[in-house]
């Protein structure tokens, strides 16, 4: 028998349904074997006796909240045999277990799942049902402002790693009975909770169904990288460098997208929520714009657009004029390189890109006590000294710096890296083929992006395919009283947001 066969049979044995037996001893034997009580130190089976009845309590040490458990056990300890029999289960369930969330289970498999998700399972001798009490207390942090989406004014709560907190933070903003949050479990071993959230009378039912089907189709052992793993399964196109869905860690951003008719996907163990469908331009928006007056918001947005646009095109453009100085328009003649270095400009650009990326990575990994030291070294790496040594001409440093600042100003980290990759491609094409290389590589990238569809949504909407209303919504940050209709890209069932 080959190893894969063995694994298959093992999984079959996992799927087999076993009913709870009348004899506590038999149940215990099965459960101890399955859960590995005695082998794993954190898997606990506590045998107790209340009112003359044998009880077995199963729980995972780190998840159970000992305060609640002590309280429940204390009350059970006071119960007399006369209070319990006959109908032990009924009495316990209806009277003696003082906890809001208690359920009855019929199979060993359900017991397994409940114990592993952190609940307390109570098996009673001579009973064919078990009680499961939710005494979970997951290790986690409380909501705090996400690092990547800070605002000057406005709410400072952010999603955390526990899915229940996240859905609660969302519901706190939309108290609508039509808000649906459907949960399912993904992962043969990890059994990660995945929640699809949408407004039932607004969101495109086709999209909701598509997402649910795609989640159902996933057949993997686990989702340790949570939303990113899920995204690759849902959207596919894993080799596409551009981010095809938007993430947010802000409940207010998530709620406003829900109201626009988007579908959100929460994944347990991750503070990032997936927004679908999303386009290129969704990645260029930031909550900050909606915290200012429309005109300031529009200005902020334009600055960002210009920054991102510049960060992609300024290096290839300048390289073009370095390679073909005759083409430089007279008005901007002064930008040509004054000094020359022994190293070709293209290599200088690539070195600068490499150096800046090293710096970026170092900045992420450097522990804060060393950050100052890193800053000093970084200034040497890309700065005056690099010029003095003769490695770089000043212009290269300048344009690389502009490009990098534009990259940092991109609200979506994923998009900024993808843009950077596009820039490098354009740079290389420009170096090899000069102007034809420049324009054809830009055209190529635009055609690829326009042809891309993320969950059936054209990626460059509303630019290509062109939609005038959508485009105005991108160019201007409209005042809320004027946002009467939902964007057509989400195919809302109900277009109107407010009475005109």
């Amino acid at each position: 028998m080959s190893p894969t066969d063995e694994i298959d049979t093992m999984e079959e044995s996992l799927n087999e349904t076993i009913h709870i037996s009348r004899h506590l001893k038999e149940n215990k034997e099965v459960l101890d074997e399955k859960l590995g009580v005695g082998e794993s130190f954190d898997m606990v089976c506590r045998e107790m006796n209340f009112g003359g009845k044998e009880f077995a309590l199963y729980y995972v040490n780190g998840f159970a909240n000992s305060d609640i458990m002590t309280q429940i056990l204390k009350e059970l300890a006071d119960v007399e045999r006369e209070d319990l029999v006959p109908n032990v289960l009924k009495h316990l369930f209806e009277t003696y277990i003082s906890h809001i969330q208690v359920e009855k289970l019929k199979t060993i498999n359900e017991i397994n799942d409940s114990v592993l998700s952190g609940q307390l399972v109570m098996l009673i001798d001579k009973e064919e049902e078990a009680l499961v009490i939710d005494v979970r207390n997951y290790p986690g942090r409380s909501p705090q402002e996400p690092d990547t989406e800070r605002v000057v004014r406005g709410s400072r709560d952010g999603y955390v790693e526990t899915i229940l907190f996240n859905t609660a933070l969302t519901r706190r903003r939309i108290r609508d009975e039509r808000l649906r949050m459907e949960i399912q479990q993904v992962g043969e071993r990890s059994k990660t909770d995945v929640c699809v959230a949408y407004l039932k009378d607004v969101a495109d039912p086709g999209l909701v169904q598509l997402i649910k089907d795609k989640i159902q189709e996933i057949n993997i052992d686990g989702l340790p990288m949570a939303e990113k793993t899920l995204e690759e399964f849902i959207v596919g196109r894993s080799w596409h460098p551009f981010p095809l869905v938007r993430y947010t860690e802000r409940p207010d951003v998530a709620a406003s997208h829900l109201l626009e008719g988007h579908v959100l996907i929460f994944v347990d163990t991750s503070p990032s929520v997936i927004i679908t469908p999303s386009t290129y331009f969704h990645h260029l928006q930031h909550a900050e714009e909606y915290r200012h007056t429309p005109i300031i918001g529009t200005y902020l947005r334009w600055v960002r657009f210009i920054g991102v646009f510049t960060s992609i095109f300024i290096m290839p453009l300048w390289l073009t004029y370095v390679l073909e100085p005759d083409l430089l328009p007279d008005a901007i003649k002064f930008i040509g390189p004054r000094e020359t270095s022994k190293i070709p400009i293209i290599l200088q650009f690539l070195f600068a890109e490499l150096g800046l990326d090293l710096m970026r990575m170092a900045a992420i990994h450097t522990p804060s006590p060393l950050a100052t030291a890193m800053g000093l070294i970084a200034a040497v790496l890309i700065g005056d000294i690099a010029i003095t040594v003769g490695l770089f001409v000043p212009e290269v440093i300048f344009y690389a710096a502009i490009a990098v600042i534009g990259t940092y100003a991109t609200p979506s980290y994923e998009l900024s890296l993808a843009n950077k990759l596009a820039r490098t491609l354009i740079l290389l094409a420009t170096f090899i083929f000069k102007i034809p290389g420049l324009v054809i590589s830009i055209t190529f990238i635009l055609v690829i992006l326009a042809s891309t569809r993320s969950l059936g949504t054209p990626y460059l909407w509303p630019f290509i395919p062109f939609n005038f209303k959508g485009m105005m919504g991108i160019i201007f940050r409209n005042p809320f009283p004027m946002m009467n209709v939902r964007p057509s890209i989400v195919h809302p069932q109900n277009q109107n947001r407010q009475k005109k």
Binding site: V439, V447, A450, S451, I464, P465
Partner: protein
Amino acid sequence: MSQQQEQNKPNDLKHRKIRMAISVGLGAGVIWGIVGFLAYYLQFTDVGTSIYAKPVLNPEYVNTWKGHLIGVLFFVLFTLIAAFIYVFTLTRFKGPIAGIIYGVFLWALLFFAMNPLFHLTNPVKELGWNTNSVMISLYVLIGLFIGYSLSAEFNNQDEGNQ
């Protein structure tokens, strides 16, 4: 405006096609006209936007920036016409490919039919790699813009009908 109701009447579909063609044609003209103007200013191409107005333009204006701006206006007119032709003949093709081919066709029309007819600029063979690559790229994007916008709009409707 409920889209379902509009579909039911063929007259409304025609109406919608006209509206969409106007919006896409104007958008294409303004956006790509400016891009073409910039490409000329940055000296990537020797063909300025004034060629679109050349047959009617005072020859003195042809190489001034005023001439090129007037050219952009005429260009908008041409993209409008192109959008109208596309919306009534080619929307049944899904996806971006049809648009790209349409763009190449427009480019060929301009440089192989209109150019010899009205002596807009030098023949293609004499324009050189730079100008030709810029013009082809520009027209591929114009075609994609017009074609894909209109195809996507009216193909989605068909899907909804079924």
